[in-house]
Amino acid sequence: MTAPLPGRRYTEHMAVPAVAVTTAPLSLEAVIDVVSAGGSASGAVASFSGLVRDHNQGRTVTFLEYEAYVPLAVKGMERIVSEAGETWPGVRLALHHRIGRLDPGEASIVIAAAGAHRADTFSACRYAIERVKQIVPIWKREHFEGGDVWLEGATADPEDEAARAQALRVSCA
């Protein structure tokens, strides 16, 4: 991944990639454009934005700090695109994850899935966010009033078929 230039959106100076890990503000429109490119064969685009909440577990969140093992995070996201393509043939998927400091209300992730039929695009979009939380080496530290804490979720293992089955299940696949 090319590092973005300071102070510019990454969409201004590069062809938008299907997957990206970037410190720049995210654009849902950018990932929608990626999956919509190539004509009018798609009848449906499902999309998702994950936003920083101002409260979590009763704490007032001041900001989040995201960190990634970037080369492996990009590979993990590419793997998710590939898994989705195998599970829902013809569906195109794009996802961008932001890292660095994020204030409440800012998007930490944007995802878009386009295809001929809506069911597959909803499933692929939901699958992508579930898999990001399972296998992509990105971490967030929550800064709240009175302290900060690293949040820890799933032990990342792309080969864990039980985790993948769980992601498929909640995706209504």
Binding site: I109, I135, P137, I138, E152, A154
Partner: protein, 81 residues
């Protein structure tokens, strides 16, 4: 042989650094690098059962052999999204 060890998130905080160079005796595995790390920073030991490992930016296992110049990453449970 010399390897680079990458640490992230709380694991990085516990060791006080996100990138360390370790000298290992051949033949070495990911586990050799981890043991060397625990010797110096015992507080990281709690991650042994819950972390993932990577070699040269690909997921790997504790038993995997490593070679001179490899980059070994120890990854706490992830929390992206």
């Amino acid at each position: 042989m010399r390897v680079t060890v990458r640490l992230f998130a709380r694991l990085r905080d516990l060791a006080g650094s996100g990138e360390l160079v370790r000298e290992l005796e051949e033949p070495a595995t990911v586990a050799s690098a981890w043991r060397s790390l625990v010797d110096e920073y015992p507080q990281v030991a709690e991650y042994e059962r819950i972390m993932s490992v990577a070699v040269n930016a690909d997921y790997s296992r504790m038993s995997a052999a490593v070679r001179d110049g490899d980059e070994i990453a120890f990854l706490p449970p992830v929390s992206g999204g």
